[in-house]
């Protein structure tokens, strides 16, 4: 089945939203997003990923370090809400811009035909931070990660 790339939109001047369909049942997609061994295989554009912290519960912290050919990038945040297997809300902060915090809300919808729709919404403190993120090539980076997730789900 052909998979369409993530579709991005701007629901408000401080948000980015995206939709992406995966060829796998929701429980498998949820597992790939919440089992650190699986997560490390696709998060961070499929580059080698060190999961330094993964306290997957409300109030818990996470910290992932991506080793890309162009450098080492640390990301971290904290879980605000987790409702398996359909919804998680967490903060997201890149070491390169410490103290600039995004709230990510990720939802998985079971499409009933063995496919799963992921929707994600990112809320920034300011319009400028939102546009700064778009200018980093974040859209292409997210799609690279999702393609790595496609490959994992296909195995």
């Amino acid at each position: 089945m052909i998979i369409s790339p993530a579709k991005f939109s701007k629901p408000s001047d401080r948000e980015i939203a995206l939709e992406r369909t995966f060829n796998a049942a929701r429980d498998r997609v949820w597992k790939a997003m919440t089992d650190p061994e699986l997560l490390a295989q696709w998060w961070g554009r499929g580059n080698p990923l060190v999961i330094e912290k993964f306290e997957f519960e409300r109030g818990g912290h996470w910290r992932f370090v991506e080793h890309s050919p162009h450098g080492v990038h640390g990301f971290e945040g904290r879980y605000r809400e987790i409702k398996a297997p359909e919804r998680m809300v967490m903060t997201f902060e890149w070491d390169g811009m410490p103290g600039h915090v995004i709230v990510n809300t990720i939802e998985l919808k079971d499409l009933g035909d063995g496919r799963t729709l992921l929707t994600a919404r990112s809320l920034f403190h300011t319009h400028e931070e939102r546009d700064g993120m778009l200018n980093t090539g974040m859209e292409a980076g997210a799609e690279q990660s999702y393609q790595a997730l496609d490959r994992l789900l296909a195995r």
Copy 2:
């Protein structure tokens, strides 16, 4: 000299601002805000405070735990910007509402007569989070902390 309590305002629907004058030169106020031994004597309304982390540099983390008569409250965040002795920007998150992150910008202005004007601005992701913070009695709590700081500066 009589000290007026902190004056609060709402510069926008996602912000809280405050002004507070201290009877001390700016360098002393800055030191009381950045030396962990001094900080522990006034931050958190003057209650016993455990400074678990205090990496006072851009990108560094902080974590303070206040032991009040009504319970234990953890707070944490990360430094975004530090310009001694006049300005610091950091995030602020209370354990009770993990993933709800405020950006605090604190500035000290030397009034030239041995007094210092502190201005602080807190930016929330949403209007609801801003109003929720005001409903916790945050204004009285901040003033209690500043009164503890007054006592420290008077010694």
